[in-house]
Amino acid sequence: MTISIRSVEKTFGRYPALNSVSLEIADGELLALLGPSGSGKTTLLRVIAGLEFPDNGQVLYGDQDMTYAGAAERRVGFVFQQYALFRHMTVAKNVAFGLDVRKGAAKPSKSEITQRVDELLRLVELGELGKRYPAQLSGGQRQRVALARALAVNPSVLLLDEPFGALDATVRKSLRKELRRIHDATGVTTIFVTHDQEEALELADRVAILNQGVIEQVGTPQEIHDNPVGAFVAGFVGESNRLEGEVKAGRFRIGDLQFDASGAVDGPAVAYVRPHELVLSQGGGEGTFGLVANHIAPQGAVARIDGTTAGGLRLEAAFARQAVADLRPGARLDLSVGRAYVFPA
């Protein structure tokens, strides 16, 4: 199901949670809403689910206006942050709930429901635990139950609010892969909210970055990471050195550092330089500067270097391990800036 959000606005008291947000989610897509806390990402998810109605704007499912339709009419599967499993029902009853509450002809027969529940519990690999109560499950298992319950109604869209937030790191990693697998197996349009950029970039087909109730950028993980459209996205996604300086005649300058900033207007500016965009420079030409390594930390194939320039700027750089194999703390590297994102301050 294609979901279109058109100029949606939502205010809580005086505080604007969503400020004219528009977004198209393609059928079968896996989209992440990424942003810091208070950015409005959960509100947007709840507006899509029908748990919250917008003050202005439209929410379309396909070409049907669902802005003020109840959650039931939209047929959404919602996974809550704390799972919100029914604590007095068994796992099987939890999963069956969405089918049990249907009325009349829409309600499947008992055996159909049982069959569907079995099928879903197998999909989330909880086949044996149907008779347990939520309190008897681990966090990861509860998450899987919540997922199975949301999928039971054959939702037109699957919505997840910080789905892995309450889990420890190892479980989180494996459940991420699980969600991707389930998404690919069912083909259901999926939107999830997260504040964890690694999660968003790894899992999603496309990522929408929210900040203060506004969508800053929507794109594939690669676009978001490599071509941030604004200072917020450049600073929020991926690691970067943030430099406050000045643009003059197409070059960004700060202290003893200067590099190409063609296209940027003259005046005060902020530059974001990813650690791996600080490159070793043999030539010693314009833009080359010295960095004294203070600390060297190996990290997989990469060595991360924490250093200081002659002008006292602290920078973080990342190189292939073998390129700096002989480097010791206190040594000096000649570097230049490969690529920087420069925005007016």
Binding site: F78, H88, G98, V101, Q136, R149, V153
Partner: protein, 280 residues
């Protein structure tokens, strides 16, 4: 010295001392008076005690007490569930005030509660003349007793449910709604099962208090034998008439009802299903 004792564990003599203090206190303040009630009731033998309970006035008092409880407890359930639902699941101005208001009957003397009703519904009260004109009797009649009992027992169910519902939040209800359950279905399938144990405790406590209330009921009752006497009032009358066996026999019956209530509560606590760990 026991070297295996846990570092934060109290030494045996301290444990013993604390237990003795608690035990002595319970025995002298709670158990001894309870035992004496039954002892006094049976002083002239079981037949005399049963006879005292079996008199017409005593039977009328028991009936009125049961009627009063039967009316005020359901009222309390409805009010308690509504109030705690509103407080736990909605945001509205004056919420803190409402919570304080619910506690009012705990802090106001029951006698004052009774007087309030006399002031409002009594012959000289605000609605007195109107009520007399329409031949409606509230004060010195059963409605007054029920009203006073409702006032006094007002907080029990709500007090039990508010913290429970606040802790549970609205997540499960939202989940139910998101899966297409109607409001009523959500209440019956999700909310009600989650609060049933708390509700039951509240009802039991409320019932115990409704049967035992003296002060507020005393003010509005008028002490008309066979008509507006509840069990606690009947105990007082008999006692003042030096009918000690009668007084203690009815008192023993009240005590017995209270003990049954508490035993029921304990049994229910033990019988809680494994799906609901924690709580109480």
């Amino acid at each position: 010295m026991n070297r295996l004792r846990h570092p934060t564990e109290d030494p045996p003599w301290a444990k013993a001392l604390i237990l003795v203090i608690v035990g002595a206190f319970l025995a002298s303040v709670l158990i001894l008076p309870m035992v004496s009630v039954f002892f006094e009731a049976l002083r002239k033998g079981l037949p005399a005690a049963l006879e005292a309970i079996g008199t017409e006035d005593a039977r009328a008092a028991i009936k009125l007490t049961l009627i009063t409880a039967a009316i005020s407890v359901p009222f309390n359930i409805v009010f308690g569930v509504c109030a705690s639902w509103a407080i736990a699941k909605f945001e509205f101005p004056g919420k803190a005030f409402l919570i304080t208001l619910i506690d009012l009957p705990f802090s106001v003397s029951p006698v004052v509660a009774g007087l309030i009703y006399v002031l409002v519904f009594g012959a000289q009260g605000w609605f007195g003349p109107w009520l007399i004109d329409h031949d409606i009797k509230i004060i010195f009649a059963v409605p007054g007793i029920v009203l006073a009992t409702i006032f006094v027992t007002f907080p029990f169910v709500a007090r039990e449910l508010i913290p429970l519902m606040q802790e549970q939040g609205v997540d499960e209800e939202e989940a139910a709604v998101s899966m297409g359950a109607s409001g009523l279905r959500t209440f019956w399938s999700v909310t009600a099962p989650n609060i049933r144990w708390g509700l039951l405790y509240g009802v039991l406590l409320c019932n115990a208090r409704a049967m035992g209330e003296f002060g507020a009921v005393s003010v509005v009752s008028g002490h008309i034998r066979g008509l507006t006497n509840t069990m606690p009032l009947h105990v007082e009358i008999l006692y003042n008439e030096y009918d000690f066996v009668g007084a203690f026999a009815v008192a023993a019956l009240l005590c017995f009802l209270a003990v049954v209530t508490l035993v029921l509560k304990t049994v229910l606590e033990i019988a809680q299903p494994p799906s609901r760990p924690g709580r109480h």
